[in-house]
Subunit: 335 residues, 2 copies
């Protein structure tokens, strides 16, 4: 009997959270590699908010996931069969493996990267992976921090936000304020990660807290959530402030109904800049960032947390955690 492999495909486009009606489990034969291809047994999936945006039939930086196609996702796996010398059997590979037990990597450049032996797989998917790259280039290239800055980060207990705040401290920010949901996450930011303060957005309106904790205004706001929190930050900018637009988690599940931004006028009065970026554009500089991050992790200056969910079949629940705020740190599915 041929070995079987499960895969999760997009059954229909979601209008809100992802449930059983959106994702369908299929069972197929384990694929055989064609010329130039390698077959990977997936071990870990990287669960990122952007996956939710790919499920919409909306223009984005990558095409939408097609109906009946495997859910697109980064992840790690081990090569189990290969007709590609770059991906030898037994190697650990990072690539866009998708939500499935087995993935086929072809020979297009960038289809997968071999992970050096001895690396912690959760670190490869978080602080040394796309998450860490996003924090690094978003804060440093787009935010351009200066010594003494006040830096505010939303989604601060998430995979990217938690690293942003720590890099800001390394770069000399005088005041790093994280915005997160719930007292445990807020305590973790301050007690474990060295944030100067944290705001629990579930405990009350963010605006008054921002005014109290950032009396001279916000120099850099690293935005992972959009919506009302972005609007509150817009109302509390310092002169020449920079807003790094990284994500808008609050709007991914209800783009139509999310309240619009009201306070964009302060971009003028505060001579401020609001700029988006995609980490794909920085791919040729990943080694630079990974070198810095590796050193900081070794020095104990950057800590990272992972939230592991077991089982391919729970990938949709893992994705939903990002929007309910159920995670602290990077969400990973272990297969």
């Amino acid at each position: 009997m041929t070995e079987q492999s499960r895969r999760l495909v997009l059954a229909q486009r979601p209008s809100g959270m992802v449930d059983d009606t959106i994702v369908r489990v299929e069972t197929v034969d384990v694929p055989e590699p064609g010329p130039g291809e390698a077959v990977v047994r997936v071990s870990h999936l990287s669960i990122d908010p952007t996956i939710r945006t790919w499920m919409d039939d909306a223009p984005g930086y990558l095409p939408p996931i097609e109906i009946d196609a495997v859910i697109r996702s980064g992840g790690l796996g081990t090569v189990v069969a290969s007709q590609n010398d770059h991906f030898p059997v037994g190697a650990t590979i990072f690539g866009m493996v998708g939500w499935q037990d087995h993935a086929v990597l072809d020979d297009t450049p960038g289809a997968g990267q071999v992970v050096p032996d001895g690396m912690d797989p959760t670190a490869v998917l978080s602080v040394f992976g796309v998450t860490g790259m996003t924090a690094y280039f978003g804060l440093l290239d787009i935010g351009q921090p200066k010594e003494g800055d006040t830096v505010v980060v939303s989604g601060a207990a998430g995979a990217t936000g938690s690293v942003v705040g720590q890099i800001a401290k390394i770069k000399g920010a005088a005041n790093v304020v994280g915005i997160a949901g719930g007292p445990e996450k807020c305590a973790w930011l301050v007690d474990e990660l060295g944030f100067d303060a944290a705001i629990d957005y579930k405990a009350g309106p963010v605006g008054p807290q921002l005014r109290k904790l950032c009396p001279d205004g916000i120099d850099i706001y690293f935005d992972n959530v959009g919506g009302e929190i972005l609007d509150a930050c817009l109302a509390n900018l310092a002169l020449n402030a920079r807003i790094v637009c990284c994500g808008a988690i609050s709007a991914y599940n209800d783009r139509g109904d999310a309240p619009g931004l009201k306070n964009y006028f302060s971009l003028i009065t505060r001579r401020a800049r609001m700029e988006g970026f995609l980490i794909l554009d920085f791919q040729d500089r990943f080694a630079e960032a990974q070198g810095d991050l590796f050193g900081w992790v070794l020095d104990g200056k950057i800590k990272h947390a992972v939230h592991v969910v077991d089982g391919l079949e729970h990938a949709p629940d893992a994705l939903n955690l990002l929007f309910t705020g159920g995670n602290t740190g990077k969400v990973i599915v272990a297969l």
Copy 2:
């Protein structure tokens, strides 16, 4: 009998348009200059949207106009009495004269500038004045136009917008689209000023027109209006687009109720930048801009229009024109 002078003071803060209940006419003696001061007989007022923002009790780049204080405004006048060698009797002065027949200039730096003889006063207040400076530095420094760009300007028949579009053409933009209200203004932009196309926002939704006229997306959007038109432009950005936030006329009279921005997420997907500026920050570079603008006007590459309203008492109506779209070009009150 002492000569009398009228002045318009802020009676109460407006919630919408400015009418007789907001502005009060007072009659006072013509002032005498103290040591270091000069008294100017005001001849022309520069009517700018920002005056409306100063009437609100809201944080801005200048403090709000105080209740019972003269309405703050730039303008031109002739020195009629002086104890300041920089401002001799008979000189024409540009400064923050306010809505009044006579203004007192003190000896603080920048209180007033002497205008060279022979300059057309309407050009001093428009293309060579703050209006032209705003168009010049906003487009060139914040927008950073490149050869072949698609440039969209709102408030395009206004004093700043009309100059922005013409500078964009001078700098090699392939496609300059103006957004204005009404067929006459749109015809003026294309037939007289050399815009490639114009969209009449009063004739229907702007979004479909933008998609048709900017098939490759918008590289630079120079925003004078904010609100729904800004949102429509956000939805039609090219990669690495720049939005120059100059003004938000649509929101000045109803900040609370204006619809919020929904499409800011495209700042991420299009790797775009949205940046505000204030022309005050460029004061030390005005000579550079005035030199360029002077040359372009002489060469016939930049045309400017003025909309003159007669009589100090009509200054509030002149201000309202900016929000009803009743003007083409720079609004000036002649006293």
